[in-house]
């Protein structure tokens, strides 16, 4: 069922399935306020994206994963829908035995406690596979994604696109996945359903610069923190 969502006034500048205004549709729009698509905009903070890539760079021969934190974008802003949100931070979690439950569960509780305290939401999950691969979504990513969706229905899953991690094309090295209601589906960065946009246009350059400077050597994930609790998975000083 396309594009019926209760709150937003139709915006014709968005891609719409309903261009021809038949008399039937005219009447219909009074009864059900029409959102012209199920599009959501996900803004991506520079440092959040950089942490994802640096986490992957820190452990190049392993799969890595982590949590995305963020906030909804104010729905009263013109052109935005209730479903838009901003990814403000990435919390790196593990770099081995990714699908063993106990530490993952505790980490989710800990990140959730942190998020609540700072008026943030858990808005998604990221994972980089061990091999170059296709960047397609894994069973684990779907399970964690589903868990996150229970509290944040518009959650996204980012699978790192290992092939473009050198950022030579200047694009984000991510394959974004959204949930259609029955399954996780890969979207292009700009499609009918999703617009993934970096807040800072210099984001790819920033990441390449930090890879060259080997900043990834200093990144701490939850697993590293467990080996030495004096290391902080919040990575407060990573980019200073």
């Amino acid at each position: 069922m396309h594009g019926f969502c209760s709150d937003v006034v139709p915006t014709l500048e968005r891609t719409s399935n309903i261009w021809t205004r038949s008399p039937f549709e005219e009447r219909f729009t009074f009864q059900v306020r029409l959102h012209s698509s199920t599009m959501r905009t996900v803004q991506l903070a520079r440092d959040a994206y950089a942490k994802i890539i640096l986490h992957a760079a820190r452990f190049p021969s392993s799969g890595v994963n982590g949590i995305l934190l963020g906030t909804p974008i104010d729905a009263s802003t013109a052109g935005s829908s209730k479903r838009d949100f901003k990814v403000t931070d990435a919390i790196p979690l593990f770099h081995s035995q990714l699908n063993l439950a106990p530490m993952l569960e505790f980490a989710l509780h800990a990140v959730y406690a942190y998020a609540q305290k700072h008026q943030l939401s858990i808005v998604g999950y990221y994972q980089a596979s061990e091999t170059i691969g296709s960047g397609s979504i894994t069973g684990l990513a779907q399970v964690v994604g589903d868990r996150i969706r229970a509290l944040f229905p518009d959650a996204v899953v980012f699978m790192v696109d290992n092939r473009s991690i050198d950022h030579q094309e200047g694009n984000l090295a991510l394959n974004p996945f959204i949930h259609t209601g029955s399954a996780w589906r890969q979207e292009a960065e700009s499609s009918n359903e999703l617009r993934l946009s970096p807040i800072d246009p210099e984001t790819p350059k920033f990441v390449v610069d930090h890879i060259k400077r080997k900043t990834f050597r200093d990144i701490v994930d939850f697993q590293t923190h467990l080996e030495d609790v004096s290391l902080d998975w919040l990575n407060p000083k990573l980019f200073s």
């Binding site: 190049p60 021969s61 081995s96 035995q97 699908n99 063993l100 439950a101 106990p102 530490m103 569960e105 505790f106 509780h109 800990a110 959730y112 406690a113 942190y114 305290k117 091999t131 691969g133 069973g139 080997k214 923190h225 467990l226 080996e227 030495d228 609790v229 004096s230 902080d232 919040l234």
Partner: protein, 302 residues
């Protein structure tokens, strides 16, 4: 990272990395470059007058180069660093199986699976149970995404090479990646039998059991977590694992099987963790830990 050291210190560091078999490829490359320029040598080989050391170093640096994207020529290179080093080794040791293995690894790093497999098969024809060649063949399947085939090669291998810990660990990871926790658990059992004092295997076994989730598995997980805490006190992962397992056993689901020891162990884990964080972790981290414990105590209500 390696600036303030003398050439002999750097050579010693390389030697230490070889002896302890650490995969620190970036560091090895940096050291090699620094040693070569430090000696003003025209090649890495020329920087090592000690013959015995020279060839070990070339092999070590070749592997590091393959790890760091130097298996194919970079801009400005006619031949990749790894290829140059392997060539030099092959010229010095033309009949060597050790060099043949390294050549196979180079093919792998270049994505030439057929070339690599052919070399490994030659090694296996000569030595039917050649450990390294068998394991590399398994890994080629893994690199190509064929985990089931990788598992079958490695599982057959460990049947007759039961003392090869590295293979058991890799096999456990392959099973885990497939969600085959039962078989991964079996691998950890083998590893624990041969390394009972290594906390790592107890922890991983416990984590696998926890993931499988039944009452028996959780109880067994608790035992192994407790053992890990005993072998390596103040290890956050073991303590947290003990906490999580006790917490799961204290839940509604297993209310009939509640025991006092479970409560005691949970309290022990929490108190030790709080002590550890108070001593070593940052204030925000300690705060987060306390918050997490209180929130979790609320959700696993009795």
């Amino acid at each position: 990272m390696v600036k303030q050291q003398s050439v002999s210190q750097m050579k010693a560091r390389l030697s230490e990395l070889r002896k302890t078999n650490q995969r620190q490829s970036e560091l090895v490359l940096e050291l090699a470059e620094a040693i070569q320029s430090g000696q003003g040598a025209r090649s890495l080989a020329a920087a090592f007058s000690d013959e015995a050391e020279r060839w070990d170093v070339l092999e070590q640096v070749a592997r590091a180069a393959m790890d760091c994207g130097r298996a194919r020529p970079t801009r400005g290179e006619e031949e990749s660093l790894a290829a140059t080093l392997v060539k030099q080794l092959a010229a010095r040791f033309p009949e060597s199986n050790r060099v043949k293995l390294l050549q196979g690894e180079l093919f792998e790093a270049q994505g030439d699976w057929a070339g690599a497999t052919q070399l490994y098969d030659e090694l296996l024809t000569e030595t039917p149970n050649h450990a390294a060649a068998t394991k590399r063949k398994a890994v080629i399947f893994k690199s190509r995404g064929d985990i089931p085939k990788a598992i079958s090669v490695l599982a057959a291998y460990v049947q007759q090479a039961m003392a090869d810990y590295e293979a058991w660990v890799e096999l456990s990871e392959l099973y885990l990646s497939r969600g085959d926790f039962q078989r991964a658990a079996f691998c950890f059992e083998e590893l624990i039998l041969s390394n009972p004092l290594s906390p790592v295997y107890h922890i991983r076994y416990a984590e696998t059991l926890y993931t499988m989730g039944s009452l028996e598995n959780l109880q067994l997980a608790r035992k192994h977590y407790a053992n890990a805490c005993k072998i390596q006190p103040d290890d956050a992962r073991s303590l947290l694992g003990l906490y999580m397992t006790c917490s799961a056993l204290n839940s509604e689901k297993f209310i009939k099987q509640r025991t006092p020891i479970n409560e005691e162990l949970e309290a022990f884990a929490v108190s030790r963790l709080k002590q550890l964080y108070s001593k070593q972790a940052s204030a925000p981290q300690l705060e987060c830990l306390n918050e997490t414990f209180s929130k979790m105590a609320l959700t696993t209500s009795s």
